[in-house]
Symmetry: C2
Amino acid sequence: MSEPTASATPTRQRNRTRSRPTVAAPAYLRRQIPTYAFLSPDGLDRLHAQAEQILAEIGVEFRGDDAALDLWRKAGAKVEGMRVRFEPGMVTEIIQKTTPKVFTQHGRDPQHAVEIGGDAIVFSPAYGSPFVYDREQGRRYGSLEDFKNFVKMAWMCPWIHHSGGTVCEPVDVPVNKRHLDMVYAHIKHSAKPFMGSVTAPERAEDSIEMCRILFGADFVDKNCVILGNINTNSPLIFDGVMSQGLRTYARANQAAVVVPFILGGAMGPVTTAGAIAQAHAEAMVGVALTQLERPGAPVIYGNFLSSMSLRSGAPTFGMPEPAMAYLAIGQLARRLGVPLRCGGSLTASKVADSQAAQESADSLWPALLGGANFILHAAGWLEGGLVMGYEKFVLDCDHLGMMHKLMAGLTFDDNTLAMDAFREVEPGKHFLGCAHTMANYTTAFYDADLADNDSFEQWRDAGSNAADVRASKKWKALLASHTDPDIDPAIDEALRDFIERKKQSMADAWY
Amino acid sequence: MSEPTASATPTRQRNRTRSRPTVAAPAYLRRQIPTYAFLSPDGLDRLHAQAEQILAEIGVEFRGDDAALDLWRKAGAKVEGMRVRFEPGMVTEIIQKTTPKVFTQHGRDPQHAVEIGGDAIVFSPAYGSPFVYDREQGRRYGSLEDFKNFVKMAWMCPWIHHSGGTVCEPVDVPVNKRHLDMVYAHIKHSAKPFMGSVTAPERAEDSIEMCRILFGADFVDKNCVILGNINTNSPLIFDGVMSQGLRTYARANQAAVVVPFILGGAMGPVTTAGAIAQAHAEAMVGVALTQLERPGAPVIYGNFLSSMSLRSGAPTFGMPEPAMAYLAIGQLARRLGVPLRCGGSLTASKVADSQAAQESADSLWPALLGGANFILHAAGWLEGGLVMGYEKFVLDCDHLGMMHKLMAGLTFDDNTLAMDAFREVEPGKHFLGCAHTMANYTTAFYDADLADNDSFEQWRDAGSNAADVRASKKWKALLASHTDPDIDPAIDEALRDFIERKKQSMADAWY
């Protein structure tokens, strides 16, 4: 069909909304500060050894995927029925032999290719919520219109590097046809990289096939252009839909994101150390399976470990235990040498209030300092993932902008150390108009979009608006500023044809 | 008069409000996780060298304090007029020769003595706001009633270790008599350690004198029982009120907290590296002066460095630049070997909204990972310090509770690694009722006080309350639960007499 350069015009959309001169808005972010050494090497050894012991003694079940069992058998694992057990060291060895430490995921605009792994960081919108929320219309089921809105906002936002996947469930589209509209929306309304369907192996295949139309089959075989988010069925299960989806992506040389979803005390031990060991074991097995399916296939080691309210059993987010898990898992993944996915701006709150912001920050800090490379749920997440929030989305985006500045770290040179400024400004004088300030002020500080730094009187006279009210105006403006990036009409037509034919081949299914 | 044990009954107030079984509420917090190595040793060397160069070449002015100039002259500094210049290495040497790395500040309840320095962390309420805010009464000037309310809430809150100082300005009391009522309120309504006045040398002296009545003069001479928060007049000035206050505390063997207050671009260079070097220089000079006044006096190296909106000149908080400054200054202070003060839950927001929580979290994380020992403004701060917020106070307190869990880190043993739980719970089963969960669930997770983890329907039926509304109920309940800790009636009487005599000796001054 075509190389990616043919299907997209170089874009300047990144900086269209509002100029923020203080930090560059790159296609992806590069962490220039160190990761945080939360655990000692001894602690890491114990966690890794515990994971190996779980895999050797308890093992993992693969349900409804005989081909996966065959791969494990050939690799030397002990397969009994659906249960697979692994000699200590075996899974680690499979992973380290062929898994890419870093890979590139292409967007249809080559300027939006992102690097995943190493010191690269990619922010991606929240994923998977059936509901959406905004201040005026309240909480409701997500629609294809909502889906497109979030794709459009992610395209316009300079701090989001990725279009995401199921940014919300388009509940008004039949469940067996949704993936076609979702992938098309990502392609049509954005030129950033995106994620495909995983809810059935044939939907994963359709998602990849649409990429072949867009990028060309040969390009897709040689390059990563789509991700598939694969959850384990914790504890220690891969159900067939998931493992087949994982293998479908790997077979096509596309990246599965292998994510144990563990709420401690429910799908894993209530003690954080044990839950981390389990998450590590499950993620390693998934990553290794991609390498058995296609050695060298790109893959992301994922993590979704949270806590629960022990009074009600409700899941909780942004708590100190998952923060520690992020930090520990970051070190485990880095030692293993695989790209890491963590959750970003998580919260159990229903609205974009103090709870939402606090829990989100308490999730984002450990994800970033833990060295996460692909940060899903970086913007929009509310209510434990049940809801994608419009106001939350833009508030989170502003926070991600700040994190661009933080990840850039400090530089030390004659200009930043400013000895000349001290020579110019005497003790007791001020630096407001000095030459050094004039030369540096446009890049000195992050210019927050939604923070109100005005005086109380100014704020009151403007309506005494809390941050979520300001965010309500912001998302509407962001959405209104959207324009589709150009697409080759022949490719667009081919994609529409594909979708039309696929849809006609199936009766509508609604569950 | 009396030893501290005589003036207080052992208290159980710490745990009175609501039992949180998941983490102990100690008199102070001990960081059991590593600090974050943000800057390389090279970067730290450059910053320290830059500070030394500023002190050698530009120097610092001491205005209206000849005794301070004399001390510097005797120590070998170059004094010209009010300007003092320091040979590179001189200030560092003075500090490292006699400054305690760790010291204890006593409360009148010995169980509430806090350690300051090393891996100890002390959370103290916000300080210095002329206004207060709550959801019902809105924003208004602070009164003595408000002051007492915050002292009482800090006493009842298990996650606040310190009663603070000017928790808000009691604007209804004459400015020259306020300090007497403030110190008395700290003593009467709390038994946690507190801070005294610094707004005039004689008020500092009165604050210490009241401690002598409470603890006994000899005990005060030998132990730290009060802190005084001393701001430099940046750039590079100590005004006489501040340096005399600093010397008053040091002379009495009490701890000055030396805090350069720098908004980059106004009181310091607009580039963060330069502002950090300046802050380091100013704090070092203040710390060193305490050691010239009384070698071995306890002292805290402080830091208040923030950014400003370069569009409006308004101060901004919780931005990435001060976060980096906290992390860098943490390393500088640690290398120097002095206890460190940072700000805690800072924000420019007017109310306890998303902005407030995000900025507060973005301040607290670097303070904690930077190794701060005394965290002022840990709860209540709004509007850049102009306002003490009731709802913000309890929301921050809940966050501080979470941080107790985070600072405890992870432990690895047979129980936490939970191999037996994996043996008990088969793949695909759940851990909800397993023996390991039952044995551990009461201490597994932080039990957040103000986070709503209920279902949407439960939350809606309870009134669709955002976090600040829930916080409004919480602070009233916390305040209603307060009882004064017992105090020896003779000491109480002596304190009242002292205040009465002092007040009668002065005409009211209102500015």
